[in-house]
């Protein structure tokens, strides 16, 4: 097989390696950073910035190489050790981050670790693209921009395979350590193929022999369970001083169990979920709610079941308990590590375990419950935040029977509610009070929120609760008057109420998830304040719009007032499109969750649909590439599409979220939603090669062209990933953010538009 065939295959493999590594690294970082979702934004930003830097760097570098294929071979051989090494560094990074074991870290160290640990692998991943473009066009005699397009298609396909393959398939059967070693070997194999196919040199035989031996050894280590040892070693370092008894990755995240004497503790993404037995926590989750209800018969429990809540519910004379867990992996792991009563509750005839997303279940269920307990912890992530929005509370109201009571608990502070904590708790409180008339607060280190449609049902009365406990004849140790008299003390309750009401923080909506924004700020206030916290603290809606206005003015100036530097509007267009494309993906996921109650597997389909769109778009334009003369016009068309897309998006969301037609609703989930990311991907896929073609017309080399356009696309995407999830969506919501994306992309539109006009004027003037 010649280089002409090898290089596209190697590009496909690079796409797979890059996306697969990204997902694996991201999941590991989430554990290291205790599930803090800002780390996702940080990883994406680091990934894209180093990627674009690598793309620039290697496009320059390959000018010094006689054969770009040799450079490609070098990068691939380097990835063989670098991918597993990066993985190992991520797992050991807790050691550099915190002074004492068990300690969380602030943004400063987080950013430092993320950016430094990812540097080498991302530079290499970024480099592969520009080097492959150069190598391919030199061997295939395909015109430069076509080479770029073909590489782009292969990379998109690789990313599609790698993304879906790892996130939804491989993660179930293979350990992350196995996967990173396998990815390393994959790159070694490719480098060997590229090396063999590359034009001959005197050293060739020696290198090929060396690489073959290395490959032989590398494959050998799989036989001797090296991945298993590697996994255990790195995991033990990561969790030190705790010794994990088991650690498993599910589609949703990482679950780790530690055993200390009788006590088993469960951690999800590095954060303590619950310990068993832990009577206090389990009792408080359940009995406040169930004792407030005069006669709880039917109970719905979302989360927390294996932590003892289920057992506590069954102490009451209930008839039916439906139990939904966010990640069924928890129940499986609990089955392996818990014994006796903690486990036998699952076999109780009154209990049904429903293997379905909680939000989805509540949205669609026609049942009515006397009590609903949400025991999912704090909304530090968008995934959890959807259980604390006005939209969710409305759905919850639908499953509560008359006089029914719901309850959840959030982290608070026993004696003083700080400003950050007040914002967070108040946002959830205001959202809750928008839907429920009766709300009862139980202050303390964790604050309990009990709520009902019926105001009269709830009253913090230690004597009443004690009387009901006695009537039901149940054995409780912690939700007893000897604690509740203090917990319900009028002075403490009114203090909490006053702080939360006075604060009057903005409400939390699906389409404007400000709850997790506040939760994150509160979390960050535990570590020292960083610049990013400062920005988030100061950020307001007005601030965002003023910032956007200044940015637009700058972009217009940069793009439109360019005195004939036609590359500027093109560069601008690539960057703003990169920004928009990422925003579209995030917004579509968020909207899907709001309208359909979020089924996790759909994420895969939506992501796949986007990547397919990207590849199809690129393939389409490669077949229909306009001549040099019409490039700018074609770019104007794609930029028009990028501008219109964010205007259509909200209309579709609005239509589907308000429709009463069951058919349309169903069509939305089966056709409309999967098509939307495809369309977004298609536009981006068409535009990228066009920009490359344009640059090529400026007589730049393939490597340089791909380096510049790829780099700017990534830079826009990096900014988009970070800004849209950390600021735009929580503060101004999906609809307004769409408008903002429209405005920013309009600047690029005008840039191209004026540029065409100027060219025409210049031409008609006969120069």
């Amino acid at each position: 097989m010649g280089l002409k065939k090898i290089i596209p295959i190697s590009m496909l493999a690079a796409g797979i390696s890059s996306m697969a590594s990204q997902i694996i690294f991201l999941r590991e970082f989430l554990v290291v950073f205790s599930g803090n979702e800002i780390s996702v934004g940080m990883l994406l930003a680091a990934w894209l910035i180093w990627g674009s830097a690598g793309s620039f760097l290697f496009s320059k570098l390959q000018e010094y190489f006689r054969s770009p294929a040799m450079l490609l071979c070098g990068i691939q051989s380097l990835l063989f050790p670098v991918i597993p090494l990066t993985f190992f560094l991520i797992r050991s990074s807790k050691g550099f981050l915190a002074v004492s074991p068990g300690e969380i870290s602030g943004y400063g160290p987080m950013a430092l670790v993320t950016f430094s640990v990812l540097s080498i692998s991302c530079l290499l991943f970024g480099g592969i693209f520009s080097v492959s473009c150069g190598a391919y066009s030199s061997v295939s005699r395909v015109a430069g921009e076509r080479a770029i397009t073909r590489m782009y298609i292969m990379e998109a396909l690789g990313a599609l395979i790698g993304g879906i393959g790892v996130a939804f398939l491989a993660i179930r059967v293979l350990s992350p350590a196995f996967m990173v070693l396998a990815l390393g070997v994959l790159n070694l194999v490719l480098s060997l193929f590229v090396r063999i196919a590359a034009p001959g040199r005197s050293m060739k035989k020696g290198i090929v022999a060396g690489q073959s031996i290395l490959l032989f050894l590398a494959c050998g280590m799989f036989l001797f369970n090296a991945p298993g040892a590697f996994d255990k070693l790195s995991r033990d370092i990561m969790w030190s001083p705790l010794r994990p008894a088991a650690s498993r990755d599910t589609v949703y995240g990482n679950i780790t169990v530690t055993v200390s004497g009788e006590q088993k503790s469960f951690f999800v993404n590095g954060l303590h979920l619950y310990s068993v037995p832990d009577r206090m926590s389990a009792e408080e989750a359940v009995h406040f709610v169930l004792l407030e209800h005069p006669e709880p018969k039917r109970v719905l429990l979302v989360g927390g079941g294996m932590g003892g809540a289920l057992a506590e519910i069954l102490k009451h004379p209930v008839e039916k308990v439906d139990y939904v867990e966010l990640d069924p992996g928890i129940i499986t792991m609990a089955g392996e590590y818990l014994a006796g009563d903690a486990l036998s509750v699952l076999n109780d005839p009154r209990v049904s375990v429903l293997n379905v997303d909680g939000r989805y279940y509540i949205k669609r269920s026609r049942k009515r419950y006397d009590c609903v307990i949400i025991d999912l912890g704090d909304p530090y992530t968008a995934q959890i935040n959807r259980f604390y929005t006005v939209d969710f509370f409305k759905e919850l109201r639908g499953v509560l029977a008359p006089g029914g009571i719901g309850g959840f608990r959030l982290t608070s502070s026993p004696n003083y509610i700080s400003a950050e904590l007040a914002d967070y708790l108040s946002s959830i409180y205001m959202s809750l009070s928008r839907v429920f008339r009766g709300i009862m607060l139980i202050p303390g280190g964790t604050m309990h929120f009990l709520f009902s449609e019926d105001e009269a049902v709830l009253s913090p009365d230690a004597v009443k609760l004690e009387e009901r406990r006695r009537q039901r004849g149940i054995d409780i140790a912690y939700v007893r008057s000897y604690y509740t008299f203090d917990r319900f003390s009028p002075e403490r309750v009114s203090y909490a109420l006053e702080v939360l009401r006075k604060r009057s923080a903005p409400m939390n909506f699906d389409f404007r998830p400000i709850g997790y924004f506040f939760a994150t700020l509160f979390w960050n206030s535990q570590t020292s304040m960083s610049f990013l916290d400062y920005v988030m603290m100061k950020a307001t809606r007005g601030w965002i719009w003023s910032g956007a206005a200044i940015l637009c003015l700058f972009l217009l100036f940069f793009g439109a007032v360019n005195k004939g530097r036609t590359h500027r509007p093109v560069l601008l267009s690539v960057t703003t499109t990169g920004f928009a494309e990422i925003y579209f993906q995030v917004a579509i996921l968020l909207a899907f969750q709001e309208i359909y109650g979020y089924v996790f597997y759909k994420v895969g389909i939506l992501m796949a649909s986007f990547m397919t769109g990207l590849a199809c778009g690129a393939w389409f334009i490669e077949k229909k590439m306009p001549s040099e003369k019409y490039i700018m016009k074609a770019l104007l068309r794609t930029q028009t599409a990028v501008c219109l897309y964010p205007l259509i998006l909200p209309a579709v969301f609005f239509l589907l979220s308000t429709t009463s037609s069951a058919q349309l609703y169903r069509l939305g989930s089966t056709v409309i939603f999967p098509v939307m990311p495809f369309a977004a991907g298609f536009i981006g896929g068409v535009q990228f090669p066009l920009a490359g073609r344009f640059y090529f017309s400026l007589r730049k080399t393939e490597g340089r062209v791909s380096g510049i356009t790829y780099g700017m696309d990534l830079l826009g995407a990096a900014t988009g990933a970070f800004v849209s999830s950390a600021l735009l969506l929580p503060l101004i919501g999906v609809y307004s953010s769409c408008l903002l994306v429209f405005l920013i992309n309009s600047c690029a539109f005008f840039g191209i538009f004026f540029s065409i006009g100027r060219a025409r004027r210049v031409k008609s003037a006969g120069i």
Binding site: S34, V99, S100, P101, G102, E103, I104, P241, L242, T258, S260, G261, E262, Q263, S265, F267, G270, L271, H272, S275, P277, D278, R279, M280, T411, S413, P414, N415, Y416, I417, S418, A419, L421, G445, A477, Y478, R480, S481, Y482, Y483, F485, D486, S489, E491, R492, Y495, Q526, T527
Partner: protein, 335 residues
């Protein structure tokens, strides 16, 4: 703002705060480690005099103080700031903040004392954050409170210099001191404390007649070494005497120590067993109501003299501070 009590001038530019062993050397406008002291024109000021940020009515059992007026209420007050940096602090929203960051109310010593009286409290507890960093406030309020017949109790980490400690001891009736561990490195790295300083202060407090109870928070994997716990109990018995109550309490993942699990109940029971073995008379485990580890048992005859559940005193059989069964004196402040 009120001028601080313990500091010295160092040249024309700096002052050295002498309140606690940190002994911060500060120039004008520089804030002390405690976040509540700052020099202005060469004079050191406390920024939290009368500036309360948390005010609550608590059962005294919650402090925990088990041998001080059982069943009574403590008027509890705190300001921002602390001179320690415990990574597990449950009150970090005030202790690790400046007074500018907290929302405060003015509650001058006189008003504090009258509020305590009006709310039917028998003591004022200077608590939640660190009473020694709002030293001048604590001192002034204690003087007034004592005149009004109220008890003064401190809930403190015990980090202070000897001189200021001796001065304030004249007005303090009881203190619950957090002896957070017995490992120098742990105290330094996790709490920013010096073990010797805390131990010296415990001895001083006892010798000045302050009723002292100790709390030891056991953090899994960080300070749950049984040998260290035994060493600590031996020291307590030898230097403070076997009658000093020792409360073991449970760690819960919070503030900066988030990726640890809560203390297993077994660990607490083991610690209590060690303390009893070493001859301490009153060893309690907080917040484990299913085991009877909160009641006071007469060390002489083994009968239960005060039975407690949670923050409630179910029965107090003591007569004039004596065991009704054998007449043994149970030390404490009972009336």
């Amino acid at each position: 703002m009120k001028e601080a009590l313990f500091y010295e001038k160092m040249g024309s530019e700096h002052v050295r705060c002498l309140l606690c062993p940190n002994e911060c050397v500060l120039a004008d406008g520089q804030r002390g480690f405690c976040r509540v002291r700052e020099p202005v024109k060469g004079k050191l000021y406390t920024l939290v005099y009368g500036l309360a940020c948390a005010v609550h009515l608590d059962p005294i059992e919650k402090k925990p103080l088990f041998h001080v007026m059982p069943g009574s209420r403590a008027f509890s007050v705190a300001t921002a700031g602390c001179n320690s940096r415990c990574k597990f602090c449950q009150n970090w929203t005030i202790s690790q903040k400046t007074p500018e960051e907290t929302s405060n109310r003015l509650l001058m010593p006189d008003a504090l004392v009258s509020s305590a009286r009006n709310n039917d409290c028998s003591s004022i507890a200077y608590t939640y954050s660190e009473p020694f960093v709002f030293y001048e406030y604590t001192l002034a309020a204690s003087e007034t409170a004592r005149g009004e017949g109220l008890l003064n109790v401190l809930v403190t980490g015990g980090k202070i210099n000897k001189k200021p400690l001796q001065k304030i001891c004249s007005f303090v009736d009881a203190a619950n001191v957090d002896l957070k561990g017995f490992d120098r490195r742990y105290l330094r790295e996790v709490c920013a404390q010096d073990l010797d300083n805390i131990l010296d202060n415990l001895v001083t407090m006892r010798s000045k007649g302050v009723w002292v109870e100790l709390t030891n928070l056991i953090v899994p994997t960080l300070n749950d070494d049984t040998a260290k716990i035994r060493e600590m109990c031996r020291w307590v018995k030898k230097e403070l005497g076997p009658d000093v109550p020792l409360h073991f309490s449970r760690f819960w993942p919070r503030y900066k120590l988030r990726t640890l699990y809560p203390t297993p109940p077994d660990t607490l029971k083991k610690a209590r067993k060690i303390a009893l073995e070493e001859g301490l008379h009153y060893v309690y485990i907080g917040n484990v109501p299913e085991e009877d580890t909160e009641s006071t048992v007469c060390p002489d005859c083994g009968n239960k003299v005060i039975s407690r559940l949670g923050y409630r005193v179910l029965e107090n059989k003591l007569r004039d501070g004596k065991c009704p069964f054998c007449g043994n004196t149970i030390p404490g402040i009972w009336a």
